[in-house]
């Protein structure tokens, strides 16, 4: 394709091709501190191509696809090209990654042990991971936590953090505008802005840790902590995994071990500061 870049995030290498310059240029700027993978053999190919011949030039419209794709993927405006590239990489992982059990979760690490946070989009797991990553934790990822099925460790997938709507201002104030990507206004998920993780998150992206605490965060409610039964945890994690079925028995064994060994709580919180105080307290008590 006309424009291309190769990126490595955690254990996965992506070759991203685009009919337009802009998405590749934005990736190049925001992933500048990641390893230089120019000319490497990639695990996945991502393509950002026009939805039709005319749509390359006239009101450009991106169809996101690659080695793995969805025929009915919604087209995206070129103004949201960076988001399209990120979605393209996520799509390859979600549909094609087999070397670890994928959990749709954010994760951070301290003293070699890992806090995993899982929840629906809007639960606050990305924002919480981003904020913790600025306060003494190592950021490991805001989208996928990779569970190693042999060792039981969680491995990082520290791509750009995708912040939405109100979280954008909160995190921009905390990290400064230099580490923020362009504001992508009015996407299908509202306003989105990407944040570059801290240098330690990128430098140590090959380094995992054993999971020590699992949280189910929920933003926008009065502060509360609830226990969660192991059966419910298991079911919620299978639903939060895109490759659990494809991996078969090893995934069942690994997830069973994870659920049996890792303490878990559901937490509700009204603000980021409340959430961080709750996380610190629970980490002290349980991890």
């Amino acid at each position: 394709m006309r424009h291309a870049i190769t990126l490595r995030i955690g254990p996965a290498t992506f070759r991203i091709g685009s009919a337009w310059r802009q998405p590749i240029a934005e990736l190049g700027r925001l992933y500048a501190t990641y390893p230089d993978m120019d000319g490497a053999i990639a695990d996945f190919t991502v393509r950002l191509q026009p939805t039709s011949l005319a749509r390359r030039w006239v009101r450009p419209s991106i169809f996101i696809t690659g080695d793995h794709g969805l025929a009915d993927a919604a087209p995206m405006s070129l103004a949201h090209g960076l988001l399209a590239a990120e979605m393209g990489m996520n799509l390859q992982m979600a549909l094609g990654w087999r070397r670890h059990l994928l959990l749709h979760a954010s994760s951070v690490e301290k003293d070699g042990r890992v806090l995993v946070m899982t929840g629906e989009s809007g639960s606050g797991k990305s924002t919480l991971a981003a904020l913790l990553g600025e306060r003494g934790w190592r950021f490991m990822g805001d989208e996928f936590a990779l569970l190693d099925m042999d060792s039981g460790a969680i491995l990082p997938f520290p791509r750009l953090v995708s912040l939405k709507n109100r979280a954008i201002d909160v995190v921009t104030q905390a990290v400064g505008v230099a580490r923020m990507g362009p504001l992508l206004a009015a996407t299908a998920k509202g306003d989105i802005r990407h944040m570059v993780p801290r240098g330690d998150a990128v430098a140590r992206m090959g380094e995992g840790g054993m999971p020590a605490l699992l949280l189910f965060p929920r933003f926008g409610h009065d502060a509360a902590v609830r226990p969660v039964g192991q059966g419910e945890i298991f079911m919620r994690l299978t639903q939060a995994s895109t490759n659990y079925v494809a991996l078969g028995e090893p995934a069942f064994t690994a997830l069973t071990r994870f659920v049996a060994n890792v303490p878990a709580r559901a937490i509700d919180f009204p603000s980021g500061d409340d959430a961080i105080a709750m996380v610190d307290r629970l980490w002290e008590q349980l991890a």
């Binding site: 394709m1 290498t13 070759r15 091709g17 000319g39 490497a40 053999i41 990639a42 695990d43 190919t45 393509r47 191509q49 690659g66 080695d67 793995h68 094609g96 087999r98 070397r99 494809a246 078969g248």
Partner: protein, 329 residues
């Protein structure tokens, strides 16, 4: 053309030793797009591979192993559902190759379960499958009526719990096609493999695969179909195959498949001008996994419809599909 690189590597796995990183990226993208990555992984066993390639091919082998296991389970479930009917259940395509442990099944991508049953047993088969948990996928009444009136198979069904599709064939080609292979003869000569399940005879397996590739369809996924045929051919006696092709009215198609399989995957064969056009269509895939040669691909799309139905009927069908918002890819 990266499809050319893909077929060269399938033909001569040792040639992968000379690939640079860009070559590997193009090869892997083409293999995935043609759904031949599992086959490629098996072909490259024993070849020295770059570190970055090995895990990709290990994943592909594991995926195809799981697909084979799932296909056998679906076949078993379909067999169970039809047990009381006294109907010969013939497995087709991927599930058959895996069930009989044929070379064509090694690493093969398997999507839906395809089965062939006698046409007069269709109402009973349909009832038995619905009772066992399969349900219709298409809601559109035009599509449903179209399938039932003109196609060689029922509209696709999906199992409500296992989320797996089944295609129930009662004939080999659409009822509107020019050739009319003898499905009853295929069922009569089917080979018993296990537990009430059958597969087609050696010759019919080839004729069936050829019929779908060359007398129907637009050659989407054609490289994989031709690989199937290439793997199936050595099992058949050439005389018996020719006799069977005559019986089914597909002599020119079988001969063309033999030439193309030899030229693309084997040790070479003389090609006619028409063969060369088909080969150009089959190899229309670039290094990013995109379909290339758009005009040629579109011409084959048009041809597939031309083969399937008479002109007036085709015009009416395309008009209805267009109004429903369907566009060729």
């Amino acid at each position: 053309m990266s499809a050319a690189l893909l077929v060269r590597t399938l033909r001569d796995p040792a040639s992968a030793g000379t690939l640079d990183a860009d070559g590997w990226n193009r090869l892997l993208a083409a293999a995935r797009a043609e759904r031949l990555i599992g086959t490629l992984a098996y072909r490259l066993e024993g070849v020295a591979l770059p570190d970055a390639v090995r895990p990709i091919l290990d994943d592909a082998r594991r995926d195809s192993g799981r697909e084979a296991q799932q296909a056998l389970w679906e076949a078993d479930r379909a067999g169970q559902a039809l047990r009381g009917l006294d109907v010969k259940l013939v497995l087709l395509k991927g599930a058959a190759y895996v069930a009989a442990d044929l070379r064509a099944g090694q690493g093969r991508f398997i999507g839906d379960l395809d089965i062939l049953v006698p046409r007069d047993a269709m109402p009973a088969v349909e009832r038995a499958l619905i009772a066992a948990g399969w349900e219709w996928v298409k809601e559109d009444p035009y599509d449903d009526a179209y399938y039932r009136r003109w196609m060689h198979e029922l509209p696709p069904m999906i199992h409500v719990e296992r989320d797996r599709m089944i295609d129930v064939h009662h004939t080999i080609l659409p009822l509107t096609a020019r050739q009319t292979p003898d499905a009853a003869a295929m069922i009569a000569d089917a080979v018993h493999i296990t537990d009430g399940l059958y597969i087609l005879s050696v010759e019919d397996r080839i004729v069936h695969s050829v019929a779908h590739m060359f007398a129907d369809g637009d050659m989407q996924g054609g490289l994989r179909n031709l690989w199937d045929i290439y793997c199936l051919l050595p099992d058949a006696d050439p005389m018996a195959l020719a006799a069977r092709a005559t019986r089914h009215g597909l002599v020119p198609h079988v001969r063309q498949a033999q030439r193309l399989a030899g030229a693309i995957y084997g040790s070479g064969a003389g090609l006619t001008l028409w063969d060369k056009l088909v080969r150009a269509r089959l190899l229309a895939r670039d290094g990013w996994g995109r379909e290339s040669r758009k005009l040629l691909v579109f011409a084959f799309f048009v041809r597939s419809h031309w083969l399937r139905m008479p002109p007036l009927m085709l015009a009416r069908h395309l008009l209805i599909k267009w109004r429903k918002g369907h566009r060729p890819q």
